[in-house]
C-alpha cells in the first residue's frame, strides 16, 4: 500500500468522527485491503449464510508492545479468535473486526497491522465481513486495541464436550509452551532481556480440523491456553469435569530459552500466556495416533502427551516434578509478577 497516497501520516480524532475522514481511512486502507462481497456493501452490518450450528467467539486484543518478536497485534487478533472458534470444534469462516485507535497512531503502523490481519485471515481461510473504527484521544487508549468476533460452522464429526471426558483420557499439547508471554515480557520496560524467543501466535484451525476429520468423537475437548497459561486452563478443566488431572513436568514441551527466562524472572511457565498452543483431551484408544497426526502437522511438531484424566484428587491438577515429587497446579490468581527477591 502506498502511504504517500493516504494523505495523512497519523490518525487523529477526525478519523473516528464518522464523517469524510473516517470514510477516507476506511476506503483507502480497510476496504482496499479486505475487499470481498460482504464487506464491499460498506454497511454497518453484513448478511451471510451459514448452515447448521454456528460457533461464535469474541476477544479484544490489548497488548504492549503492539509489534513484538514474532508478530503484531493484528495477526494476534485473527489467530486468537480463529483459534477460539476452532476450539469449539468449528471451522472458522467469518470475522468481524473493530479497532479502537489512540489518536497519534502512525498510519504506517496501522497499515502494517491491517496487512498482517489480511495475511493471517487469508492463511486461516476466514473473511473479514464487517467492522468498526473508533479513535480515542491521546492518553485514553494504548495505540490500538482490536476486537475480533468469529463465526464458524461446527465440524460435522465434532462432539466436543467436557461431559464426554472419562478417567484415563489423555491430555496432549501441540508444542512448546510459554513462548508468547515470554516474548512480550522480553520487551517490557524494567524487565527487558535479549533473546530469540518469538511469540508462537499462529492459527490452529487446520490442525484441529484434521483431528476432527480423523478422530471425530474420540476428541473430547480442545482448549487454547492463552492468558493464564496451561496451568489455569487445566485447572478449569479439572473443575468443570469434577475429576483430577495428572501431569508430568518432565514431558511438558518447554524451549530452553523460555525456561531460562522464566528462571531469571521467577515465573512459572505453567501460567505464561500462549497464542499458538492448544490442549486436546482424547480417548486413550487413539492417543498415539493423535500424537502422530499432530507431529506430522507443522503446527504440532513438538506435540506431547503431557498427562491424563484421573478420578483421584477431583478438581485438582497434580504434577509430578522432575525429581518425582508431586505438587498441585493451582490456578493463577492475578497477573503473574516477576519474583525476584
Amino acid at each position: 500500500m502506498d502511504i504517500e497516497n493516504i494523505g495523512f501520516e497519523t490518525i487523529n480524532l477526525g478519523h473516528g468522527s464518522g464523517g469524510e475522514l473516517t470514510r477516507n481511512l476506511l476506503d483507502k486502507i480497510i476496504f482496499k485491503t479486505f475487499s470481498n462481497p460482504y464487506l464491499d456493501q460498506k454497511h454497518d452490518g453484513s448478511i451471510v449464510k451459514i448452515e447448521g450450528e454456528v460457533a461464535i467467539s469474541t476477544d479484544s486484543f490489548v497488548i504492549t508492545p503492539i509489534f513484538f518478536k514474532g508478530g503484531n497485534i493484528g495477526e494476534l487478533a485473527v489467530h486468537g479468535t480463529v483459534n477460539d472458534v476452532a476450539m469449539c470444534g468449528a471451522i472458522p469462516k467469518y470475522l468481524s473486526l473493530a479497532f479502537i485507535i489512540e489518536e497519534g497512531l502512525k498510519v504506517s503502523e496501522f497499515i502494517e497491522i491491517v496487512q498482517s490481519i489480511k495475511k493471517a485471515a487469508d492463511e486461516s481461510g476466514v473473511l473479514i465481513i464487517t467492522g468498526d473504527t473508533k479513535v480515542v484521544e491521546r492518553g485514553k487508549g494504548d495505540k490500538i486495541f482490536i476486537n475480533t468476533t468469529g463465526f464458524g460452522q461446527v465440524h460435522p464429526k465434532a462432539n466436543i464436550s467436557v461431559h464426554n471426558i472419562k478417567e484415563g483420557d489423555k491430555i496432549i499439547v501441540n508444542g512448546f509452551i510459554a513462548q508468547h508471554g515470554m516474548a512480550i515480557m522480553s520487551e517490557r520496560e524494567g524487565l527487558e532481556f535479549e533473546s530469540t524467543i518469538e511469540s508462537d501466535s499462529t492459527n490452529l484451525n487446520f490442525l484441529v480440523n484434521d483431528l476432527l476429520d480423523v478422530f471425530g468423537d474420540k476428541i473430547k475437548l480442545f482448549r487454547d491456553p492463552t492468558r493464564g497459561g496451561i496451568g489455569t486452563v487445566l485447572h478449569e478443566i479439572a473443575n468443570d469435569i469434577n475429576k483430577g488431572v495428572f501431569l508430568k513436568e518432565a514431558i511438558i514441551p518447554l524451549e530452553k530459552q523460555v525456561a531460562a527466562a522464566c528462571e531469571m524472572l521467577g515465573l512459572d511457565p505453567m501460567y505464561v500466556a500462549n497464542e499458538g498452543v492448544f490442549l486436546v483431551v482424547v480417548d486413550p484408544s487413539v492417543e498415539n495416533e493423535v500424537l502422530n497426526v499432530m507431529r506430522n502437522h507443522k503446527k504440532g511438531k513438538n506435540a506431547a502427551i503431557i498427562g491424563e484424566i484421573t478420578n483421584e484428587h477431583p478438581n485438582k491438577v497434580v504434577m509430578e516434578s522432575l525429581i518425582g515429587g508431586k505438587r498441585i497446579v493451582s490456578p493463577l490468581v492475578g497477573e503473574q509478577l516477576p519474583r525476584i527477591c
Binding site: F193, E194, K256, Q257, A260, E263, M264, I340, C341
Partner: protein, 84 residues
C-alpha cells in the same frame, strides 16, 4: 528469597572506573546486562550467579563437581570413622 541464577559472562560492556563494571551474561541464550561491580575477579567465560541485576558470586567449577560426590565423601568419611 534471593532468587539468583547462574549464567555465563559473555562480554564486558562498560567499565566506568576500577569498581563500576557492567557486562552481559547469558542464561542459555537469554542475555541480560548485569553489574559486575561485586565480582571484580570474574572474567569472560566464567559462570556467575546473578541476583536482581548484579552478579554476586563466581561459580567454582571444582566445588560444583564435588557436589555430586557428596554421598561418597560423607560415606567415605563415615567409613573412615567407622574404621577407627
Amino acid at each position: 528469597m534471593c532468587l539468583s541464577i547462574p549464567g555465563k559472562l559473555i562480554a564486558i560492556t562498560s567499565q566506568l572506573d576500577e569498581t563500576f563494571r557492567v557486562g552481559k551474561v547469558s542464561f542459555d541464550g537469554i542475555i541480560k546486562e548485569v553489574s559486575l561491580t561485586l565480582v571484580p575477579e570474574a572474567n569472560i567465560g566464567d559462570y556467575v550467579l546473578v541476583h536482581v541485576g548484579a552478579a554476586i558470586s563466581t561459580i567454582d567449577e571444582d566445588e560444583a563437581k564435588k557436589t555430586f560426590d557428596l554421598l561418597k565423601q560423607l560415606g567415605e568419611l563415615n567409613e573412615l570413622e567407622d574404621n577407627k
